[in-house]
Symmetry: C2
């Protein structure tokens, strides 16, 4: 079907919308693809919906190709199953909660593990029914604290979520890899530049997971990668390269010093460099101890001491991931008052270990390393405290910040940080949900087998913005062919009646060849039409212009900017079709 | 793509689910098309989703064919626009309301007039931009008091809703008729038996509206029609055939009688037939007066007296429609105590009219008709009170019940009642919403023109149940070809390896011809497979069975039950394709 711009519900805007900060947001609004309705809520106008549906089609095709079966759940779900898995509580303010007229609790689901698990439990009962891969392309909801950047962080969005069910770990691994490869094909077809990073799974639970991050400076996710080896990981998932342990023989004994008023690393380092210790001291030589109160989901809580080199901050995201699902907070003054052995600003490993406080240290604090740290008395620090000789922590924790230049855990070179937008997330969930709902099937040996699950999300509506973010220039959008709302944007830039009639005939010919044509048949100047064509971003622009009288039309490649002339006549539509095909 | 039942996520059930009452509910569950998640919330399993998508496709094609442009709004919408039109209040308990983390109010929209209107206002400003027809196929929500009958009355459902915008009434009429005809084509393609009935528009507002009711004894909507003329109307919309007025000359004077303890129509009729009035009296000779308190949306309220022939009840639905958008309630004893002129059980027109109570009567109470009614004193009635001579009501009201055999308003014959399921509803909204949001565009004469709107709903997911309701037999579903999840259900009913291989080859051949094949390749008995094929309801069943060795397969028509044999060999797939095409 030919779409005529004279009839299309579209008004392009000359100026960037005031509230828009990122390119995709500005251009999708200016080009009339979407409109804001409320914070984090957008309507899809005809062009935007076409792009969304194209992405859905690609995703559907690739999901079907790996044996995925499409089903569809309600977005409105009852509380009970989310109560069973504790996610009703864990989601906190992050979800929309709804009461019905009988005061029953519902939620607008952000993800559907629970009902998929229960549905499979309800239908299947034998190992013969597996493997099984189910998916849906569905509207989901999150009550985001800060909706931002147009379609990048919204409150109602379209996701593809799939779930695999297997009777053993090998099956799960195979399902996971099938999804991983399907995602690679999807992002490749959508022309999305991306990296796959190791990820921790947060509230989702489970053991192995990777994120697909679209490379973008406006992304909210920071990841690091090693350009030498290709290693890439979410900041939360980076494993610190652990130094070799050192011999302790011959190291000087630890000595306690009066350090005066030195409650911070900066003041301590200043003291040390004035104290004739025989060497220059930096913050990296100090051991900073941070005290937390940590509450497990079952309500139990404990004190936790974390030791990191004094030149590094504790990274809140990494700490959260390391402690998940526990919640935590820094100790406040009232807490300190309750534990007189904790001398704020002067805490050392000794007081913690002597008083039974669990003490975890950064992996860099290996046996044989020597530190300047608190001596557990006001105005006193200890110099030359050696790990493995003078104290032994209860374990290590990945909580210290990751920095550009840190060594890659695979030893291949330094890490560099970059930003990305999460467009996919694949998890080997394992038995978290099948345990919660006791989902067993009869095994081949007649004994019950607990199913193991994978869960795989893909941000369909977010991809509209991601693709716009990666494919645009100062003039407008530049859609890859698989997602473009049309194949050809045919501009009538000649007022002559014969040229106009010829353009309409050409549109019909292209349509019959299966080419989706946007025909600019408006009463407007060629300049206005060209500007709109560049803004809308259809990859091929055909101009019926001045050349018509001489028997030519112009074909413009919106990506490269190249133009070529094609001869009018019987073969024109076929010629255009061939040109744009390759 | 061939779908293999050995891999399909499907478990059919032998028994009807306990809670299911209507055939579509039973069969859609038993055949594994849908599963309940919570009251009024269902998941769509693979077969159900295929039917849903097929219906969507038909609807989309017909909407596009009349120039409809598809867009998509959020389901989660802010309160403000619904406040402007007062629907935030009017919907009462009927919608799901949601608060976000900042305590802002949202709703899960049951219909989208407000945001469509605002969006058009935001984009367009000239008469040249019209006519405009926009639609969406979208998930909608209603907090139904009583979800029932499977997919027939649910709380989350898929609707097609479209909205037209025109600069004048002629444009609206033309858009309305285009929709009406598109709906006729849609229901015809979906093989839905339906009637179009006049409807009142209830909370939607506006002037002209019709409902498309699918004929079904399990429908919730009662409508009446005249088999002679084809007139059909919702009970709420039936216009009473008004009798001719009668001459009053020569009628006896009204006389007040002591009627004793006769506060009901039955006791009054009994008195009358014992009172020597010179004729047999029935309830139809009495005039019953019902007292209401009526509250307008702006909060104003008034007393309202309604007079109906004593043999008819006041129909709550008709009364509600007649008074809409006002709310109303019967007077209780405390109310009666406040108005001593209202003598309960003995109320006549006189006390109402003398005391300034608005008094509306049934259209049958024409001038010259004579009534037995209350005399406004305890134990007294008046006989021979003549309308137009002894009292003149303030107007008429369509509130009395409609009965089988009542004359059709077009005079062509009697009305008969039937039940239907609302599958479509088309409204000439007029300027209700464009007035609320002051939507003017520049007219051809340079002056502002207020747009006029139509709104058109179609229950996409409900149609799955409606079609199942109209097309099934005792063995299972029988899908019309446009909506069937597959074109052909190919059953391997022969364990011979060669027959099995032949069936798989045939499935591939059919697939290449564009036929969607469900291949029953399971290790199960032919009996089980045939039962499932009948239950699932694909219109054509191909059986590779005993005849394979003799060079034949069987083609069964699930609708007619007819079977025929086709010869195996090179032309088989083409032969099947031709046979099912026509």
């Amino acid at each position: 079907m030919i779409t005529r711009m004279s009839e299309l519900f579209l008004r392009t805007l000359r100026d960037d919308p005031a509230e828009a900060e990122v390119a995709s947001h500005k251009l999708l609004i200016r080009a009339g693809y979407i409109r804001p309705i409320a914070p984090g809520l957008y309507s899809w106008l005809p062009l935007g919906l076409r792009v969304l549906r194209n992405i859905e089609r690609v995703v559907r095709e690739e999901m079907n190709a790996i044996g995925g079966q499409e089903i569809l759940f309600p977005a409105l779900l009852p509380r009970a199953p989310y109560e069973t898995t504790n996610r009703w509580t864990e989601y906190g303010d992050g979800i929309f909660r709804v009461k019905d007229r009988r005061d029953n609790d519902y939620l607008l689901a952000p993800t559907h593990e629970e009902v998929f698990t229960l549905t499979v439990k309800g239908e299947y009962s034998s190992y013969k029914d597996f493997p099984l891969a189910l998916y849906q392309i569905q509207t989901k909801y999150r009550d985001e604290a800060r909706p931002r950047a147009g379609l990048l962080r919204v409150r109602e969005f379209v996701m593809k979520d799939s779930y695999t069910f297997d009777i053993d770990d090998a099956g799960l691994k195979s399902a996971y890899h099938a999804h991983r490869e399907a995602y690679q094909r999807i992002f490749s077809r959508l022309a999305v530049r991306y990296v796959i990073v190791s990820a921790v799974s947060g509230a989702m639970g489970g053991s192995a997971s990777e994120e697909f991050l679209a490379e973008s400076p406006v992304g909210e996710d920071t990841y690091v990668r090693c350009l030498q080896s290709g290693y890439a990981a979410n900041v939360e998932a980076v494993v610190t390269a652990r130094p070799e342990t050192l011999p302790t023989d011959g190291l000087a004994d630890a000595v306690v010093h009066d350090t005066g008023d030195t409650p911070t690393i900066a003041t301590l380092v200043e003291w040390a460099n004035g104290a004739n210790l025989g060497r220059a001291v930096t913050a990296a030589d100090t051991l900073k101890n941070v005290l937390l109160k940590v509450r497990q989901p079952d309500g139990d809580w404990e004190l936790l001491g974390i030791g990191v080199p004094g030149d590094r901050e504790v990274d809140d995201k990494r700490l959260g991931a390391a402690l998940d699902p526990a919640e935590y907070a820094l100790l406040d003054d009232a807490d300190f008052a309750k534990y007189p052995f904790l001398v704020k600003g002067y805490i050392g490993p000794k007081a913690l270990l002597d008083n039974g406080v669990r003490y975890l240290v950064d992996p860099r604090i290996v046996d044989g390393t020597s530190w300047i740290t608190g001596a557990d008395e006001l105005g006193k620090h200890v110099v030359g405290l050696v790990a493995g000789r003078d104290f032994t922590a209860d374990g290590t924790i990945e909580a210290a910040e990751v920095r550009d230049g840190d060594p890659s855990p695979d030893g291949a070179g330094p890490l560099v940080a970059a930003r990305g937008i999460e467009v996919g997330h694949i998890f080997q969930l394992g038995r978290k949900y099948t345990d919660a709902f006791a989902v067993d099937v009869l095994g081949e040996d007649g004994k019950p087998v607990r199913l193991t699950m994978g869960s795989y999300g893909l941000g369909v509506s977010r991809l509209v913005a991601v693709i716009a973010e990666q494919h645009h220039d100062e003039l407008g959008l530049r859609w890859p062919s698989e997602v473009s709302p049309f194949d050809v944007h045919l501009v009538i830039a000649n007022k002559d009646a014969e040229a106009r009639a010829g353009a309409i005939t050409l549109a019909g010919d292209l349509d019959r060849l299966g080419i989706e044509v946007l025909l600019d048949d408006r009463q407007a100047s060629p300049g206005v039409k060209f500007k709109d064509a560049e803004l809308l971003g259809v990859p091929w622009i055909v101009v019926v212009g001045r050349g018509w009288a001489d028997g030519t039309v112009e074909l413009r490649d919106r990506f490269s900017g190249e133009t070529r002339e094609l001869a009018t006549g019987a073969g024109l539509a076929t010629g255009i079709t061939a040109a744009i095909a390759g």
